[in-house]
Subunit: 102 residues, 2 copies
Amino acid sequence: MDLRGHLELLVLAALARTGSAHGYALIGAMRDGSDGRFDLPEGTVYPALHRLERLGLVSSGWDESQARRRRVYVLTDAGHTALSAQRAEWRTFAAAVERFAL
Amino acid sequence: MDLRGHLELLVLAALARTGSAHGYALIGAMRDGSDGRFDLPEGTVYPALHRLERLGLVSSGWDESQARRRRVYVLTDAGHTALSAQRAEWRTFAAAVERFAL
DNA sequence: ATCCATACCTAGATGGTCTAGGTATGTGCG
DNA sequence: CGCACATACCTAGACCATCTAGGTATGGAT
């Protein structure tokens, strides 16, 4: 799919949209929320979530209340901050591309 | 600077803007045309130009008319086509990010 | 019973970008 | 003149995000 560094923004935004969600649901949310454009393989998303957790931007816990166990993620405060920063960064980046390359 | 896959679009667009230019001038054009936002190291741009030439999107020749020899690049027909395609791709990508993540 | 969707995971390949060097020529300045 | 600096080209290798390609296991439907 070639997200080229924008994956982090997408995952954080997906989590902000859903409030909290497990990995597989996030994959679906990104796919469905983008008309199939952001259809990421699990091998991309799971490691990204682990990285975000190492960075302290998300935290996770096992949800055992369902029949099938799931690792549920939520944004931390730092995650919300990072999301705002990445959104701002995207805007200036996109504006620059727009001005220069289009 | 972290252009993450958008470098090709930028270089092609820079060449389209200038008509034809040598590598060092393209670096300046990208830097100045973006308020310093696209300030790429030579080690990024020269290999990118070589790659684009291998792909047939640009062609080059030595300009010996000046005191200092320069390798001057121009877009090929395929390069113009590729630029249009990448602009279109950018637009749909940016629109999807905008809708989903902002 | 079997198959598919769900749900998680990781090792290793891939490949674009950057770091960090190198070479050489012209130009401005004291 | 000598020196610094900008110009102009180049490449090897590091880095690291993403993808490929596997693996495991459970639940629900037929």
